[in-house]
Amino acid sequence: MAGLVGSIVTFFQGMGLLNLTWGNVVMILVGLALVYLAIRYEMEPLLLLPIGISAVLVNIPLGHLANWPVAPNLPEHIADNIFSTLSYLNQQYGPPGIFDIIYYTLIRTELVPLLIFFGLGAMTDFGPMIADPKTALMGAAAQIGVFIAMLTALALGFNLDQAASIGIIGGADGPTTIYLTTKLAPEILGATAVAAYSYMSLVPLIQPPIIRAMTSPEERKIRMEQLRPVSKREKIIFPVVAMIVIGLLVPSAAPLVGMLMIGNLFRESGVVERLSKAAQEELMNIVTIFLGLGVGSTMRADSFLTAQTLMILGLGIVAFASATAGGVLFGKLMMKLSGGRINPMIGAAGVSAVPMSARVVQRIASEEDPGNFILMHAMGPNVAGVIGTAVAAGVFLAVLG
């Protein structure tokens, strides 16, 4: 009966329970916490639920869903070659699990984040920004938070690549954060992605105290005149022009902005409805599933359970708060310059988190004066913030990438 004994021994050696580390246990709890937040409080469930549950799954030992390290030490001559890397990792760590395939071929190649930008473009109406182009500047101002967070991260000892990835959390754009972190500092991808999506869903809690502290009731009561209507022609021209202008000025932002604008052109052109629908629905849903599972699968004990992660979560708040402050400050400047015709609060919507922060601004305005409707004006900085963050990411990539 040596065979049976052998089988049993083999089997028990491979039993997950006996190979469970404390790190695994903690990571499983972290994953469960994300799942709980996603379901109970509907915190960005479309991403935090897949991220959380796949974090649980990859931390079950020997499960063979993710066999390869997230940030492997590669020989120099293949480090930049994704195809050689795949072959090398297979050699070193065995055949890929499903999460390795998703992570390395779909996320590391930037395919998934870019396709999500494509879908977002097909979902976004840039009308309010086209109607009032000066609001685009507020989308720029809110990016100050990105740089403040980056400097704070540097001061705390992160290296430049990591600091840039952490700073971009302040842009409140999940896919941009994932895109940049994957390129610059994949070892902290789990932490920055979780931070970005968590705080995005906490915008209604983070922003109001800051906005109230920085504005007077009189300022919050400023009413703005109705936005002019935007023609279909302008909406069609916008993505083309934006793609060319930004592409020529910051080519490293061209993938993000370009895919966003292609999606938007599909939407506004009105002649390719089935492609526009596909970008928003079937392709978007499939890609979102892979993004969530892939990002969650990078949350392994060894790379996630570090003091760094806690710092990143802390820095995320710094980033969101300073971005809000930057937006409001610039809003006050524009209020002065316009002779009081601009409500400074709409600057806070420049952090993106479309359309949450615009709604937050409207809510505060309504509290002061129930007849004050600045929602649409806040949507201008809001969508501009998406472009602003992509440009900031482009600058980081141009200098560091």
Binding site: L47, L120, M123, D125, V203, V354, P355, M356
Partner: protein, 125 residues
């Protein structure tokens, strides 16, 4: 010039084959069509009188003429008017509005209709 000659050869070959293949396909389709007709004939013989079954259908249409067209028009107009009336009324605000997926997705997907769902009368979503 050699290439052009080769092209001519290819043309002869190509045209021949394209015609041959589609001709064979046509012949096969004629054969299939013929077989189908034979089969249908056979099936018709084995099931001789299927025509009697679908008889009960007509009775459903008999009540139609009972109502004069004028009454019809009045009633229909009434229903349409009511529907239009109702649609023109202010849609009541849902108690706890469920945040749509599009609102949530990555914090970006505007879908302006959602934003415009803001109820300007009561200043709330």
């Amino acid at each position: 010039m050699a290439e052009f000659m080769e092209g001519l050869n290819l043309t002869v070959l190509g045209v021949t084959i394209v015609f041959t293949v589609l001709a064979i396909l046509a012949v096969v389709l004629y054969a299939v069509g013929w077989a189908e007709r034979r089969l249908v004939e056979k099936e018709a013989k084995t099931a001789p009188s299927p025509a009697s079954t679908p008889a009960p259908a007509p009775e459903a249409k008999e009540e139609k003429p009972a109502i004069p067209p004028r009454d019809l028009a009045v009633i229909t107009a009434a229903v349409l008017a009511y529907t239009a009336e109702k649609a023109s009324q202010l849609r009541p605000l849902p108690f706890k509005r469920k945040i749509s997926d599009s609102w949530r997705l990555y914090g970006l997907q505007t879908q302006m209709e959602d934003v415009e769902d803001f109820n300007y009368e009561i200043g709330k979503w």
